[in-house]
């Protein structure tokens, strides 16, 4: 192994999306400068971003097979293992032939076979063949594959210092996200000359990643006619395109067809440049005034390092919101404006979109405020300090035994959000605490985010998530969903859990809009004879809440009572309990109520009898029944029960002593 790196061999792997390839390329460029004679090989998979970007950078590329972790489908899992295994064999072959000193993996499923193969080789040759493994994680949360790979790795470089705690101790270090130097060194004037765009123009550059972002493409295609009314505005639109044949969304074709339909004149417009794949990114980056981007860690860090103001549109996802987290991080630092993707459960739109007007307005208002833009771009450069490329290149050389171990730098820390990162279950829990006053109320910004999340849950195809969305909507007092919630409650097509939770949500949202009063009554009547018991008792429970806010007409009262009296003999005890309580809150006829309640005096479940006591109390309070009669009746009810509350005296004493002690401390 010599100083000039003649014998050094490096394997770079990782890919799938541009965000995994470009940090690797950035590091390669730096390494080539430092050890010009080194052998470098890139290992990726076919039909992905690396297939285009790597050969363009002049680096030899080899392919292995791999695929992302599948769902719980058995056959997909089998297929996954076969793919990974064949990829592993290919990787073994490449490794034994190339004999690298260091493997640098940017994660994603693409690098898994290579790392696994390296690990196995190390085990079976008892450490004789021992390539060092360095992994780079771009996001705040360690990916699944990287979590596994970290165990085999010698070191893991992270972009956010929070990630270090998830990595086996001693292996993690902060590097930041490597940005290609060519990108970082672009010149605005020269770039514009090259592109033939006048210097006075205001260039908006929208780029939703190498595979394209549907919401950005569609919104921009719709907003373009409006924006181009301003003669200064130039738009560069990178639609992205799928790499393989298999795809659900073809960015370029979709956008073109949309344009042909709505505004065909734009296709010939000089100021609207539309491309499927942009490979000279640095030129466009340098030339632009405002960027519209997704919030993958790669793109935001690239854009911030360049000091460009941006409009960030994070991808909305039911299961993870690291993009939203990244976007809000930059927004809080004052370097970007965040627009959220929306879905519209009321209208039944479940493909995320961005309001065209919102996009137009944000672009125009930013254009009108050059000072703000300048400030944003200044803030942007301050967000991600350090020189990630240097740190990583140093570390690679250290792993080869050439240079010393680089100093540890303090990383960028990531602000914790109250809502982000919570799963739907945790979110429900959190809101309960907010409503109970244990946590401070949500501010406007958090409410905006929350509603957005509820919409996403609600439009997902997962029934459990939909029903949970209803409960969360209730807890969040999300009134815009009110009509939809009523519809869910009274629907035959919805699943049982959804119907139940719709009633639960209704009890919170009932005051949202008085115009829907009649529909609510309809829903309750429907719910009282629902086939699912939990829906029946939640419907009965709702009557109480309803009565507190609205007056009942005589006709409605009779209809409700008729069903409630039928439910008093229901198979399910919870329905009986709630029916009794509901009857007590609306009944005006003494004789009828007593006659029906008598059926439950010896009910097997004591909770039903407990409800009877409460019901008589209510009836007396409402002056339907006189107290003497009520006492007589309560006397008849069976009072033996098989339930009691255990109360641990020691814990009671502990609690009281504790509260006394802490009070004394305050004084």
């Amino acid at each position: 192994m010599s100083e000039n790196g003649l014998n050094l061999r490096f394997i770079f792997t990782g890919g799938g999306s541009g965000g995994h390839v470009s940090p690797a390329l950035a590091v390669i460029a730096e390494l080539k400068k430092r050890v010009p004679g080194a052998d470098i090989l890139y290992v990726g998979i076919k039909n992905k971003a690396e297939g285009i970007m790597v050969p363009k950078a002049g680096i030899p590329l080899k392919f292995v097979n791999s695929s992302p972790l599948p769902d719980k489908n058995f056959f997909k899992i089998i297929k996954f293992f076969i793919t990974i295994f064949s990829g592993f064999l290919k990787a073994l072959f490449i490794l034994t032939k190339f004999k690298p000193h260091v493997i640098f993996a940017t994660g994603g499923y693409v690098s898994a076979p290579v790392i696994f193969a390296a690990w196995i080789l190390r085990k079976i040759t008892l450490g004789y063949f021992r390539p060092k493994i360095l992994i780079h994680e771009a996001n705040v949360h360690l990916g699944k594959m990287n979590k596994l790979a970290a165990k085999a790795a010698d070191a893991v470089a992270v972009s956010f210092s929070e990630t270090i705690k998830d990595i086996p101790s001693g292996k993690g270090f902060f590097s930041g996200y490597p940005v290609r130097n060519i990108i970082a060194e672009g010149d605005k004037k020269k770039a514009r000359e090259k592109l033939g765009i006048p210097e006075s123009a205001f260039i908006v550059f929208a780029f939703g990643g190498s595979q394209g972002a549907r919401a950005i493409n569609r919104a921009l295609a719709k907003a373009a006619p409006e924006l181009l009314k301003d003669p200064d505005i130039h738009i560069v639109h990178g639609t992205g395109k799928p790499f393989g044949k298999d795809h659900r969304y073809h960015g370029f074709e979709d956008t073109i067809s949309l344009l042909e339909k709505n505004s065909p004149e734009l296709l010939k417009e000089k100021r609207y440049l539309i491309k499927d794949f942009i490979d000279d990114m640095e030129l466009y980056y340098a030339a632009s005034d405002l960027l519209i981007i997704r919030a993958g860690a790669g793109s935001i860090i690239e854009v911030c390092t360049l000091g460009k103001p941006s409009i960030i549109i994070p991808i909305s996802s039911v299961y993870s919101d690291h993009q939203t987290g990244n976007a809000r991080y930059v927004e809080r630092a004052g370097a970007a404006v965040v627009l959220y993707e929306k879905t519209d459960p009321v209208k039944g739109v479940n493909i995320p979109f961005i309001e065209t007007s919102e996009l137009v307005e944000s672009i125009l208002s930013l254009k009108e405020a050059p000072q703000k833009l300048e400030q944003m771009s200044k803030k942007a450069t301050e967000i991600f300090p350090g020189k990630p490329v240097d740190i990583i290149a140093d570390y690679i050389l250290y792993l080869c035994g050439i240079s010393k171990r680089p100093d540890v730098t303090e990383g960028v820390s990531y602000l914790k959000d109250r809502i982000l990162g919570l799963s739907s279950v945790e979110l429900e829990h959190f809101l309960k605490k907010v409503n109970a006053g244990e946590k401070p109320l949500l501010n406007e910004d958090e409410k905006r985010l929350l509603k957005n999340k509820i919409d996403t849950y609600f439009t997902s195809s997962n029934v459990i998530l939909r029903s949970r969305a209803l409960r969360i909507a209730g807890l969040a007092y999300y009134c815009e969903l009110f009509p939809l919630v009523i519809k869910c409650a009274a629907s035959h097509e919805e699943k049982p859990f959804v119907r139940r939770d719709a009633f639960e949500a209704l009890s919170k949202l009932i005051t949202c809009d008085k115009n829907y009063r009649n529909q609510v009554i309809e829903a309750i009547l429907h719910g009282l004879s629902d086939l699912y018991y939990e829906a029946r008792f939640h419907a009965a429970k709702l009557i109480n809440v309803f009565g507190a806010h609205y007056e009942l007409t005589e006709e409605e009262r009779e209809k409700l009572l008729e069903k409630l009296y039928r439910n008093i003999e229901d198979r399910c005890f919870e329905v009986r309990v709630e029916s009794i309580l509901a009857i007590a809150s609306i009944e005006n006829d003494e004789e009828r109520s007593v006659k029906n309640f008598e059926k439950c005096y010896y009910d097997k479940i004591w909770k039903v009898r407990k409800a009877l006591f409460k019901a008589y109390e209510t009836l007396v309070k409402r002056k339907v029944i006189d107290s003497k009669k009520a006492l007589e009746e309560t006397d008849k009810i069976l009072i033996t029960s098989n339930g009691y509350i255990t109360d641990y005296e020691l814990k009671k004493q502990l609690n009281s002593s504790r509260s006394h002690i802490s009070n004394m401390e305050v004084k």
């Binding site: 829990h429 029934v463 459990i464 029903s467 699943k495 049982p496 859990f497 959804v498 699912y532 018991y533 939990e534 005890f573 919870e574 479940i605 004591w606 909770k607 029960s641 098989n642 339930g643 009691y644 509350i645 255990t646 109360d647 641990y648 005296e649 814990k651 009671k652 502990l654 609690n655």
Partner: protein, 364 residues
């Protein structure tokens, strides 16, 4: 261990009574019960000190009505005394005993790891994942099945090893190695999980386990005794009588555990206890090839696991609840029935079913 001493006593002309299986079972039971009582409190206090305490899914202050803070992983108590006394009083050269002690260690240790992870991460969902738990059980089941079915190492006579036996029928229903293999794996997975599900209330899993072990002990004594087996029309399995001694040790330690675990509980068994009991129970039943008797005697476990299965697979798959809650004891609890009442009623059912299983001895 004492087995050898008893042998020496017998050979040198002393009384042979200590060497009998019956007397050793009784001694193992008594010794393991008292040892559990003696070491119970110090161990519980150590568990509490080390932070092995229960916590609830919903967080809050210490509630004087909740069981939060009770030491968990009390299974270690049964683990120590059960295995310890088995080693002391059983014939350690007996292949059945080797297998049983191995199963006890296997399930106890993995249950302990599961408990430890939960405590360490302060999250009841962060124990071993479902997949890992199932693979541990299946792995053991497969090993046991291979051991039983492989004629060169199996201590069971070949036609019994792969024969299906049912109550009330003196013969062997059919012989099939393949079906027996699957059946054994199923029984192991079933028994480990079933006890785990039943462990949700004070004393709810321990008492039915005791009854089941007694039944298995009685059967193994009969099957392992040539005269009794012939008289009662069982298929004689040489050496299986020793299982009764093992059962005696486990019953003693479980009873000792109940001393502390009875409502209101001072300690919970945790997964360490439930997997330990369930795993050894299933293994013992397989070794004497009386799995159906085991299912009857442990009917409570069958009920608990079936109710969970119904709720999750018939209910949640169709987005509805069928029972109020599952496993079944939560269903009753939701209706307002007090815990001690539910536990007692389950014990009664369990006793009746155990008696029923014993009765089948005479009707063949």
């Amino acid at each position: 261990m004492f087995h050898y001493i008893f042998d020496i006593i017998k050979e040198s002309g002393g009384p042979a009574v200590f060497g009998y299986i019956t007397s050793r079972t009784l001694i193992a039971f008594v010794s393991s019960f008292f040892v559990t009582l003696i070491i119970g409190r110090p161990i519980i206090i150590q568990l509490y000190k080390k932070g092995f305490r229960s916590f609830e899914r919903t967080y809050g202050d210490i509630n004087s009505q909740s069981k939060k803070g009770t030491p968990v992983m009390g299974g270690i108590l049964m683990f120590i005394t059960g295995i310890g006394n088995a080693v002391l009083w059983c014939d350690l050269s007996n292949p059945f005993i080797i297998i049983l002690i191995f199963s006890a260690i296997w399930f106890g240790v993995f249950g302990g790891i599961d408990d430890y992870l939960k405590i360490k991460n302060k999250n009841p969902d962060s124990g071993l994942s479902r997949g890992v738990k199932f693979s541990i059980q299946i792995l053991f089941g497969v090993a046991l099945a291979v051991f039983v079915l492989n004629t060169s190492i199996s201590p069971l006579p070949p036609n019994i090893a792969d024969g299906m036996q049912v109550p009330f029928y003196k013969g062997i229903l059919f012989n099939s190695g393949f079906i027996t293999f699957l059946w054994i794996v199923f029984i192991i997975v079933y028994s480990a999980n079933a006890v785990n599900f039943a462990d949700g209330m004070d004393g709810l899993a321990v008492v039915p386990s005791i009854f089941t072990f007694i039944v298995i002990g009685v059967f193994s004594y009969i099957i392992g005794n040539f005269v009794h087996a012939q008289h009662l029309l069982f298929h004689f399995i040489p050496g299986s009588g020793e299982i009764a001694v093992f059962c005696g040790a486990i019953v003693g330690s479980a009873l000792g555990f109940l001393w502390f675990n009875s409502h209101p509980a001072e300690v919970f068994m945790g997964d360490m206890g439930s997997l330990f009991l369930g795993g050894t129970m299933g293994t013992a039943a397989v070794l004497i090839r009386q799995e159906i008797i085991f299912i009857i005697a442990g009917a409570i476990f069958a009920i608990e696991i079936t109710s969970t299965f119904i709720q999750e697979n018939l209910g949640f798959r169709n987005y509805r609840r069928i029972l109020y809650r599952a496993p079944l004891h939560h269903h009753f609890h939701h209706q307002g029935m007090a815990e001690s009442k539910i536990a007692t009623r389950f014990w009664i059912i369990s006793a009746i079913m155990a008696a029923l299983a014993i009765i089948t001895i005479k009707f063949r």
